[in-house]
């Protein structure tokens, strides 16, 4: 392949070349930088997301420093504090989790797991990454402009987000909105690709109901994102107009610090509806890929088929659909018509049913399995615990009247960190330990991995579990300082200090992980093509790491669902999806 030569500029390629040869890159730059190979784009997305995620991690340290040891860091005043939590939250949700699950795992796994050569529109896919990078750079730039980044909270509620009482009103909020707009444009280019690829480019025999749940999760999440991000997009554009041109989409008549502002007639609550119409599905944009990936991790490492595959698929689709009719559960105390509460509490609690099914089916997959406590499996088990915990506290917050005392307290912070912070991150780690050998051909170091796992899992649980009880007491979120609140008992300070110390340790454990990622690329044990003895197609590639085009000359043909583990009568405890018979001998005879 490598020696394929092309004629002089303008000449047609030789006719005897395979189609496949025509699109291989021909220079280092097009191969590794402006690459159109989904696998390279996936690595680019992942590295960028992890890099900016590191910034968010450091910010969380600074926030915890202030909360655990108020006043110790003299450079953190209220202004900085609000800037730090805002940037921390926004980066974690959008620029780390969304980008990593869809841009990272999505790009890598969709073509490989479906037996495709690449995404359907590789050029647009490349653009998607570069626009994402631009969005990240604009976001980072906001740290260096006069006034600093916005401190409006990641929810960016107007009017305060664009008024002078909030940090970063000069430039920060403008750059934040521009960055979000860019992110959405970039994401849409990738998202269209993922959807079309799943629908159009599956290998022969790969019916929809033979797709691994990872793909179902990523696919549904992408559809959700394509429908939800536009709401944020228009919200961001309108707020930008309010800020820069003085329109009043979200701005009623306001007297700020004694001055009557020129705004009038707009609706602050309209923005909240737009934001949460995006914001709630966003939770599932992060959660559904995690659901899918964790299903595959559990099945592979417990050597057992996922329990109730069809139910799992329907649960993903049902959750995806329902997630568009629950958004106002974030707005129970927003001042919207309180009668909405009846409807949104009901839809929200109904969503618990398909979600619970998923948990049951993961657990039942373990039942009578052959459980290998590999690192991916450990992370998957930790996911079950944290997700279960966070999901159950969601029943408090979704049940409108219970939310009234708890909303905007640390209970909410604890809940959403458990369910959409810790749980998906654990899956990301599990996924990285699982697929790293395919990406690099080498295993990640087991000892560093164990250290990373135990510190992260136990640490994160110790940070966020007790935090619920502070919220129950009424300790508010987004408070630079809780000094002087009469109902806060003195022992709260002790707990806050404890939480902060654990947070520093958990953060340090992530450094261990990054070292592991970097070191194992050259020093890891060689992995071979299928170290986990898994059935799905990405483990059956002719080369590891897979070459451009993934499959060599012929595409794989799919004969079975992805969960044929421990099938009675098979010669191994797994039957790859592209193996026609139960045993290799049978398969050989058939072909």
């Amino acid at each position: 392949m490598a020696d394929a030569q092309f004629g002089a500029a303008g000449a047609l390629p030789r006719a005897d070349l395979d189609d496949v040869e025509l699109y291989h890159p021909h220079s280092w730059l097009t191969k590794y930088v402006f690459s159109q190979d989904a696998k390279i784009i996936a690595v680019q997305y992942s590295c960028t997301a992890l890099a900016i995620g590191l910034v968010a991690l450091v910010l969380s340290w600074l926030v915890r420093l202030q909360l655990g040891f108020p006043g110790v860091a003299s450079f953190i005043g209220p202004k900085e504090y609000y800037q730090f939590i805002t940037m921390h939250g926004m980066i974690m949700v959008i620029y780390l989790l969304t980008a990593l699950f869809l841009g990272g795992f999505g790009n890598y796994l969709i073509p490989l797991m479906l037996g495709a050569r690449d995404m359907v529109f590789p050029y647009v896919n490349m653009l998607s990454y570069w626009i994402y990078l631009l969005a990240v750079l604009v976001l980072v730039a906001s740290f260096f402009v006069p006034g600093g980044p916005t401190g409006a909270g990641w929810t960016l509620y107007p009017p305060q987000a664009i008024l002078a009482g909030t940090p970063g009103q000069e430039w920060g909020i403008v750059l934040m909105l521009v960055s979000l707009i860019l992110f959405i444009i970039g994401f849409t280019m990738g998202g269209v690709n993922y959807v079309v690829t799943v629908l159009q480019a599956r290998a022969p025999g790969m019916t929809l109901m033979r797709m691994p749940l990872t793909i179902w999760g990523i696919f549904t999440a992408t559809v959700l994102a394509l429908l939800a991000f536009p709401a944020l997009f228009v919200g961001a554009v309108m707020m930008l107009l309010d800020r820069l041109l003085g329109t009043s989409f979200f701005m009623p008549a306001i007297v700020e610090a004694g001055q009557r502002l020129a705004y009038g007639g707009g609706s602050p609550i309209l923005f909240q509806h737009l934001f949460w119409f995006f914001g709630h599905p966003e939770v599932y944009i992060v959660a559904l890929p995690a659901f899918g990936i964790v299903s595959d991790l559990i099945s592979t490492h417990a050597r057992k088929n996922i329990f109730g595959y069809r139910m799992m698929v329907w649960a993903i689709v049902a959750i995806g659909a329902l997630s568009f009719v629950v958004w106002a559960h974030h707005m129970y105390v927003s001042g919207m018509n309180p009668y909405f509460g009846f409807f949104f509490a009901t839809t929200t609690l109904v969503i618990a049913i398909p979600t619970a099914i998923k948990v049951y089916n993961w657990v039942l997959t373990l039942w009578r399995g052959d459980i290998h406590l590999t690192l991916p499996m450990l992370f998957a088990l930790a996911f079950i615990v944290t997700f279960l915990n966070g999901g159950l506290t969601g029943l408090f917050l979704g049940n409108v009247v219970v939310d009234v005392p708890l909303s905007d307290t640390l209970f909410v912070v604890a809940h959403f960190h458990m369910v959409m912070g810790v749980a998906p991150i654990l899956v990301i780690f599990g996924g990285l330990y699982h697929w790293y050998p395919k990406v690099t051909g080498r295993m990640l170091d087991e000892r560093l991995g164990q250290l990373h796992f135990w510190a992260t899992f136990l640490g994160a649980y110790a940070i966020f579990f007790p935090m619920h009880y502070l919220g129950l007491m009424g300790v508010p979120r987004r408070y630079f300082d809780i000094e002087g609140l009469g109902f806060v008992t003195p022992s709260v300070a002790t707990l806050n200090a404890f939480i902060s110390i654990v947070a520093f340790l958990v953060g340090a454990a992530q450094i261990v992980f990054l070292v592991n990622l970097a070191r194992s690329r050259t020093h890891g044990a060689p992995a071979g093509g299928n170290p986990w003895r898994a059935t799905t197609l990405e483990w059956q590639t002719p080369e590891t790491p897979p070459a451009h085009g993934n499959w060599g000359r012929t595409l794989p043909v799919v004969y079975r669902w992805p969960y044929d583990y421990s099938v009675p009568g098979a010669d191994r405890d797994f039957v790859p999806q592209n193996q026609p018979g139960l045993t290799r001998a049978e398969a050989g005879a058939a072909s």
Binding site: P268, I353, L395, Y563
Partner: protein, 278 residues
């Protein structure tokens, strides 16, 4: 791992039972909310412990040993139907009381007294009805340093309203109050944890909630919706008095008419300007 999972399940329950961090003693009629919360704790707590312990059992019992093979068992309709039924039951047991209590929350008793809380960066003001027992008109157009709440000077119903600007809010114990909420700049939220109830205040809108104070005492109020750089310092205080003390306090307060014309109004305006200069 199995052991750790058991410890997590039991440790979480132990923490729940033994830790000193719990809700504040209630001071309003919303003990229904606390009851619903407790029901939710029971149901979710049982689910949590049951599932985590089950996982722990599986991890221990079905851990990999040489020669072991997993069972092949794609699905079981019956089991899934059972689990769905059970979950739906649990959900209904939480939702039903939740919605009933919400029904009480949105329906304000007709004899509730209307009072008003007005928010601005980063302070609270309060308004109580005057002798006519109702609150007069207000509009952001009237807001000025002398008239921080923007009451309508032409409206007789507004002129006799009691305005508390910069002091504590007092309420008589045992009387339901409907709290009308206004903001003149950004979104705020008035929250007293002991009362359990809260609501955002939105510029350009009037929102509300209601409650009945059930015990006397002084309670800290806080802003519970991020509203700018001094959000965390936007505190207040509500004092619940027995009827006689409440009367005494009320008699000392000034009406809008008195404030607007008297020296107090002028002094207040000067103080506001000075505050801003800092």
């Amino acid at each position: 791992m199995a052991l750790v999972l058991v410890l997590i399940a039991l440790g979480s329950i132990a923490f729940h039972l033994l830790s000193p961090w719990w809700w504040t003693p209630i001071a309003s009629n919303w003990d229904y909310i606390d009851t619903t919360l407790i029901i939710t704790f029971w149901i979710t707590g049982i689910a949590f412990a049951a599932i985590v312990l089950f996982v722990a059992y599986c991890v221990f019992r079905f851990r990999h040993r040489p020669g072991q093979q997993a069972a092949y068992e794609p699905e079981s309709r019956r089991l899934e139907a059972w689990l769905i039924g059970l979950t739906a039951l649990g959900v209904a047991a939480m939702l039903a009381p939740g919605l009933i209590v919400w029904g009480q929350f949105v329906r304000v008793p007709s004899h509730a007294t209307e009072i008003e809380i007005v928010a601005q960066q980063w302070r609270w003001s309060f308004r109580l009805p005057g002798a006519d027992k109702r609150l007069g008109a207000a509009d952001i157009r009237h807001v000025s340093d002398e008239n921080p709440l923007g009451l309508d000077p032409q409206d007789a119903a507004a002129r006799d309203d009691v305005v508390v600007d910069g002091g504590d809010l007092h309420l008589p114990v045992g009387h339901p109050v409907k709290v009308l909420l206004r903001s003149i700049d950004v979104v705020h939220n008035f929250y007293v944890p002991e009362f359990r109830a809260k609501m955002d205040m939105i510029p350009g809108m009037i929102t509300y909630f209601w409650f009945t104070p059930t015990r006397t005492g002084a309670f800290d109020a806080l802003c519970n919706e991020v509203c700018g750089v001094s959000h965390y310092a936007m505190r207040g205080r509500v004092v619940v008095d027995a009827e006689p003390e409440y009367r005494t306090w009320l008699d000392q307060q000034k009406t809008f008419a008195q404030l607007a014309s008297g020296p107090a109004g002028i002094r207040h305006a000067a103080r506001l300007r000075a505050d801003r200069g800092r």
